[in-house]
Subunit: 210 residues, 2 copies
């Protein structure tokens, strides 16, 4: 038997203190209030206040994403971890949360289009893309393939959270997102990113309750 | 129509290049080869080679975790994102992946023990803890509560991946894990951590295929 540990056991109090610490330490000055709320949750998800410097919100992103969610539009996710992390009770209109990666036709589609399974799975989004919120927290190929689908005439989503992570294509795909300009976006520059950050952004946009 | 993007579309090639970049940039010199394989995947999950400096493997951790997985022991996860991210096809013995957070009795248990729902959900692990691999990628309270369960006589797991993230209790719970010494562990010091890193560690331990 070791000495008992003294720690905060109240979930709501943990959130309050976490967000207070983030707001006192992170440089959020360049963000509008609704962007800052998103930034705070993204920082919370990765434990790094310094990530604030790498976040880029396109003009109108938070309004477009929030309005799509209020309208009940679906959230299209590139990975099961993203889909699974979204807090359903925060969603304002019981929005469908979609990840098509597990569909049986994905392996064949990947071979057909010569891309990763994650990119191929997006081909199954097409009838749900119009006005949707897209959350990419894993694969750079998914973000690159989104541009290809838009080039080919896919319906335009309302907003994109483009936060793939990693060492091959992640930074480049996010630079391409900033350059593309067709869809309001939130991204994090460089190699950092991931499903937890993408989930945090959705959870922040879903409800005004901090 | 924008100019098409040139990017690598082959998943296996993306993995190969990612791991090669990590091995060329990260300082892995202090790790044994089996630890380095885990470190590489954890770095891959967060996009930060500098996280190598914060990883701590207790002596015997990789052998204990690997042996438990080969034995078919369950993987007990503190969050659905962790449970969901584990690649089932890499597991060596069709190991059960358990997350009890969604069980109906958790809210009542949380009130009863005066702790978070995540900590309370662990009370439902008890008959599966003996020799199990525990993966904590979200809640500091889960890691703290693990010590309390061991104090109270819960069965000893084979190994713990203790990687909660955040601003309240995360760093402290991981310091406590290093000081505790009852269970072989892998942790990442400080505020960083998260479900993606914990998943990456499990996926690395699950198969020798890089």
């Amino acid at each position: 038997m070791n000495a008992p540990h003294d720690y905060i056991r109240d979930g709501a109090e943990i959130y309050r203190r976490s967000f207070a610490t983030i707001r006192s330490e992170a440089d959020l000055a360049r963000f509008a209030p609704d962007e800052a709320r998103v930034a705070v949750r993204v920082i919370h998800a990765c434990g790094m206040v310094e990530v604030a410097a790498d976040l880029v919100f396109s003009p109108g992103f938070t309004a477009a994403a929030r309005s799509a969610l209020l309208d009940g539009k679906p959230i299209l996710c590139d990975s099961k971890m993203v889909a699974n992390g979204i807090t359903r009770t925060r969603l304002p209109a019981d929005n469908p949360v979609v990840c098509t990666l597990g569909e049986p036709e994905v392996a064949g589609l990947a071979e057909m289009i010569g891309n990763t399974r994650t990119a191929a799975a997006m081909e199954l989004w097409e009838d749900r893309m119009d006005g949707a919120v897209i959350a990419i927290g894993n694969a750079p190929t998914a973000l690159f393939h989104l541009f290809e689908m838009l080039d080919a005439g896919a319906p335009t989503p309302a907003a994109v959270i483009g936060m793939p992570v990693g060492f091959v294509g992640a930074a480049e795909s996010k630079e391409a997102l900033e350059a593309d300009g067709r869809v309001p976006f939130l991204t994090v520059r460089g190699r950092k990113g991931g499903s937890a950050m993408a989930v945090a952004a959705i959870n922040a946009l879903a409800s005004e309750q901090e």
